[in-house]
């Protein structure tokens, strides 16, 4: 074990340029993946804010008994898809309209009769805010006899759906592409290290070192480079994050950074990249000689 560590560290000392190259390659690959990850989690966070506003408004026929409404409200609140339901009386509706629609304030003030219907507003639970589910719940609401009309901004919900699917897909595709590029580049840099040490490897084989013994230092070296690259990429990501957050003039002040488990994931990913790259390179080299 002591020998293994010594040999692995020796290669850093003997080929500092190549080692720095490997580490920075891993770091920049992971940095790119990480930046995209940051965009993705922030977009998701922003969408979550939007999604919470997905609601269904059901307008109620004038003159419906308040007990009927109260019972129906309880029923609806018990739907698994529904987070909460609130009843907006006719007076409440008018009061809101007066507050929100400033231009029509005068018109509303002079009314003899309140033209606005009472309604119930239904907000959806997490994970039930896609167009399909919202449409189904709206349909169910329509089934209540006292409901006049149901509105839920179908197109808006569908667009949100598309946006969410698209960001997920683009994130996965670009992330995978960059990860693949990273693996290739890491494989090449480690291959360079191996070629540089081909003589040493041939002597190790000559005196009867086992293949696992020969692999050991290279694998450890790859893993170490991956670890360093992962850490460096996190530093870069954090710098990028600060840069965006603090130079956006406040519009991006709500940006979030990776949670600790995401950071660990990135570092583990780096270690795996380094390990995988060196495994492939050493394996191929040992097969050829």
């Amino acid at each position: 074990m002591k020998l293994l560590t010594r040999e692995a560290l020796l290669s850093f000392r003997r080929a500092p340029l190549l080692s720095v190259l490997s580490v920075t390659t891993i770091a920049f690959s992971l940095f790119t993946v990480g930046l995209f990850g940051l965009v993705a989690i922030n977009l998701r966070e922003a969408l979550r804010g939007l999604e919470e506003r997905v609601e269904i408004v059901a307008y109620i026929f004038r003159g419906t008994a308040s007990e009927t409404i109260a019972m129906a409200t309880q029923d609806i609140a018990a739907f698994p898809e529904v987070r909460d339901v609130s009843y907006i009386s006719e007076e409440e509706a008018l009061r809101r309209a007066r507050a929100e629609l400033v231009e029509f304030r005068d018109a509303y003030r002079d009314l003899q009769v309140n033209p606005l219907p009472a309604s119930i507003e239904v907000r959806m639970n997490d994970g039930y805010r896609d167009a399909g589910t919202v449409g189904r719940v709206a349909e169910r609401l329509r089934g209540f006899g006292f409901i006049d009309d149901v509105r839920f901004g179908r197109e808006w919900v569908q667009k949100l759906d598309h946006l969410r699917n698209l960001t997920g897909l683009v994130g996965i595709v670009i992330g995978l592409a960059f990860a693949a590029v990273a693996v290739v580049i890491i494989g090449v840099t480690i291959r360079l290290t191996i070629l540089q040490r081909a003589r040493e490897i041939s002597i190790m084989r000559l005196v009867g070192a086992t293949n696992w013994f020969i692999r050991g230092p290279f694998l450890l070296e790859g893993a170490l480079k991956g670890l360093l690259g992962g850490l460096l990429s996190l530093v870069l990501c954090y710098a990028g994050y600060l840069l965006f957050r603090d130079n956006s003039g406040g519009t991006l002040s709500g940006l979030i950074f990776f949670a600790p488990e995401h950071m660990i994931l990135i570092i583990v990913f780096g270690v795996l990249l380094g390990l995988g790259g060196s495994m492939v390179s050493v394996g191929r080299h040992l097969q050829h000689v």
């Binding site: 190790m204 084989r205 009867g208």
Partner: protein, 229 residues
């Protein structure tokens, strides 16, 4: 110790490097492999330490059948051999001592025994005083002695030397050759490939001569035949 039986070796292009080579080497022998470049000396060496496997026939070395050697058995065979080359094959960034120790370290020797064993073989090859020198600070003959020390440190049953004096001047050649003879006197089989016929003629050791991949002369066999006539 070594048994070649009807060995063929074909290159990937189909040309034959060895054609029907048969010879045996007994315990304690010193054998010269001679012949021009390309005659097949190096191919025989490579078969001996399982760098290559024969295309036909059987090669047995120190109890291992090279023709049917499994991948993980190769290191075990090599630990029973010492191999020395014309170009020394030392690691430039390690001292003489470290180069020799490397062979022990990578085969998993106990670390507390390494220093003593390294010093013993360096003394045996006459380099104990230069143990901390780097290869570039050593003469050709000294570098080859380090390589021989590295080959000896695992107490091999067989020492393979492929043109060990090819890069050395006359004086260094004599020194290295004497060292190989001493090693042989200690009981180790030595197989030395060389095209230095002066060296061969100086001694009475067995000589196997190759030409175009076949054995054209084997002093053991041919002299026995001459004696019988």
């Amino acid at each position: 110790m070594i048994r070649f039986t009807n060995v063929y070796k074909a290159y990937p292009n189909g040309a034959l490097a060895l054609k029907d080579v048969t010879f045996h080497v007994a315990k304690g022998e010193f054998v010269f492999l001679t012949g021009h470049s390309g005659a097949g000396k190096s191919t025989i060496m490579k078969l001996l330490f399982a760098e290559q496997s024969p295309s036909g026939g059987e090669v047995r070395v120190s109890g291992y059948n090279v023709s049917a050697l499994k991948r993980d058995e190769v290191p075990r065979l090599r630990r029973r051999l010492g191999v020395v080359f014309q170009d020394f094959r030392l690691l430039e960034d390690r001292t003489a001592e470290e180069n020799v120790a490397f062979a022990l370290e990578v085969t998993g020797a106990r670390s507390d025994t390494i220093a003593a064993r390294v010093m013993r073989v360096l003394t045996q090859v006459g380099l104990s005083a230069r143990s901390r020198a780097y290869p570039r600070e050593l003469s050709g003959g000294e570098q080859q002695r380090v390589a021989i020390a590295r080959a000896l440190v695992n107490d091999p049953a067989i020492l393979l030397a492929d043109e060990p004096t090819g890069n050395l001047d006359e004086r260094a050649t004599r020194g290295v050759f004497q060292l190989l003879r001493d090693i042989n006197n200690g009981g180790t089989v030595v197989v030395m490939a060389t095209h230095d016929l002066d060296l061969v003629r100086q001694t009475v050791y067995r000589t196997i001569e190759l030409r175009d991949g076949t054995v054209v002369y084997d002093s053991d066999v041919d002299e026995a035949a001459a004696g019988a006539r």
